[in-house]
Symmetry: C2
Subunit: 335 residues, 2 copies
DNA sequence: TTGTAAGCGTTATCAA
DNA sequence: TTGATAACGCTTACAA
């Protein structure tokens, strides 16, 4: 295999010391114009690129960010990653991607790997199905060693940076839009219970019923899974009830698309016969027919803030550790 | 910031030399059981993790793979990445993700970054809209420095590893399935012309017409863009023709989903009124209603081979540089 | 079985 | 304006 040039090779050929070559590479110090030119010519001639590994070792800084998420094929996660990565690139950082598939063992393995590789920070989007005590301990041990930023996720008893969408506000806006239009038969496909984002929304939904915004029908609140299939089956059931709902809310877009499919199966028109609203604004909402009304995360600012907290070392010293971004109602065709 | 322990710290506390500590870490040499235990205890006590950067520098090997693709939010790419990453993790490799957005300047920037960071290999899925001479030159310069594996992509005049789906065979199977069922009015939404995968399929389609499998109607072959929107608009036009096609082929799933949407808009039932077939088997095909019949890449083997070519150093010496994987017809509801 | 010391390719300090 | 050299944290000959 090809032997790469080093600063020594360049220095030798230019008849200078490695220190001078380093100065030219980094523009760090005064160098006589003639020597600079000589060295630069050699750099160009050999297409010399300094070895970033060696530099990282010396500087104790890798300009690497670890990005841990459950599943990159889920557009919610990939959108955040894409925005984060674009922004990181501008600042000379590169992303290492870590799919856990929701398996805590993969999480542990990746956490270890990232620490060994001395990444400058970790962005963590969660998704582990079991939140063991162990997980909190693990993170607590490392959170002062390097910045860990949770995006729309949190682990109890840790003091990590947190960058969140205001899902409470987002879901309230959605409920208000429904109320504004006067619909009273409103169902919620709630997905998997017991996780925080679900509970927040279910609570707001129940509150709306108590306020008299919607009729109370207990069969309109249905649990399930965060999949298209699950959304479809639940909606299929709802839509064949004697009094079917006027509006179906999917607690996320995936579920809402399932509900949309159920409408197609039953030959119901959306939004004429049934209205559907999702949540998250993943790209899938623009791929279906009719396009899906939803509530959007501020993907760009979420991602940028997460990266900033890692890139900008001074943020470690600041006391502000929690950041909240408002969500936005996106009106499309399905509602 | 927290100062990490090094082999020196461990060695000092154990009263041995760093070499011995290294031996324990790597199981590389005989070490007396008593000293091994003493050192291992210290490692556990401090949760000591060897600095992978230093190790990489010495070994001239980073166990890093650069993965260059146009856009991670596109499920075709993210599926390959996920499979590659799962497999790489098993072998101790980590993926650095590089979204080019089809912009050749991003590609160049990332290529440089990856080389500086001394990744052990690059997986490249292409997608750049302009194929300049410059691009070939660039890649040619580096292809003997480290393994570059193109997945379903190629750049003329280079000698990189190539791992490909047999799209020709895949598309032929698709055409045969249509012929087998006796449909003669078959339209092809061809997407953007001028790129290789498109031209291959268009050619096979035209060949099928010449063989008398399908009727020749020149309005049935339509150009466009690789988007849902484009697919929808083209299908909308086709479906309102005096003699609308019995079958619409989307040259990829995205376009086919657009065609499906057009059917919904026009209240046409799929597959009763119109049949639709896509290509690629992205996860979107299972999210729509009806689920989409398509032709699938062998995502797993494609991804594994790409990783193997990088991980297994001996492959660099072998002369076999091109690998072709058969595609599979996936029959679902839309056809 | 263990230790010494060189080397990986940079950067930065200090001296010249 | 430049150069010599130590340091970053690890692995591995080679020696003991």
């Amino acid at each position: 295999m090809y032997k790469n040039k080093t600063v020594y090779d360049i220095a030798a050929e230019a008849g200078v010391s490695v220190a001078t070559v380093s100065r030219v590479i980094n523009n760090s110090d005064k160098v006589a114009e003639s020597t600079r030119a000589k060295i630069q010519d050699l750099i160009d001639k050999y297409d010399f690129k300094p070895n970033e590994v060696a530099r990282s070792l010396y500087k104790n800084e890798t300009k690497l960010i670890g990005f841990i998420l459950p599943d990159i094929t889920n557009p919610y996660y990939s959108t955040v990653l894409l925005e984060a990565e674009k922004y990181a690139l501008e600042q000379g950082y590169t992303m290492m991607i870590c799919n856990t598939l929701g398996d805590i063992n993969n999480f542990k393995l990746y956490l270890r790997t990232l620490l060994e590789r001395k990444v400058d920070g970790i962005i963590y989007m969660g998704g582990e199905r079991v939140q063991t005590q162990q997980l909190s301990q693990l993170i607590k041990r490392y959170e002062e060693e390097l910045p860990i930023v949770m995006v729309n996720w949190s682990i109890p008893q840790t003091n990590c940076f947190t960058v969140k969408s205001d899902e409470e506000q987002g879901f309230e806006v959605l409920l208000e839009e429904i109320k504004k239009k006067g619909y009273k038969d409103v169902a919620l496909l709630a997905g998997r219970r017991g996780v925080m984002p679900t509970e927040i929304k279910v609570h707001l939904y129940e509150e709306a019923i108590q306020k008299g915004w919607f009729h109370h029908r207990k069969e309109y609140l249905v649990d399930g899974d965060f999949t298209v299939e699950s959304g479809k089956n639940e909606a299929l059931h709802l839509l064949q009830l004697p009094n079917r709902p006027q509006v179906i809310i999917g607690i996320n877009d995936i579920i809402a698309v399932g509900a949309l499919n159920a409408c197609h199966m039953l030959r119901l028109s959306v939004p004429e016969d049934v209205k559907i609203i999702g949540f998250d604004n993943i790209n899938l909402t623009r791929a279906v027919y009719p396009t899906m009304t939803t509530v959007s995360h501020d993907y760009v600012n979420l991602a940028h803030k997460a990266v900033d907290l890692i890139v900008d070392k001074s943020s470690l010293l600041k006391k502000e550790r929690r950041f909240l971004y408002p969500m936005e109602y996106i009106c499309r065709e399905s509602f």
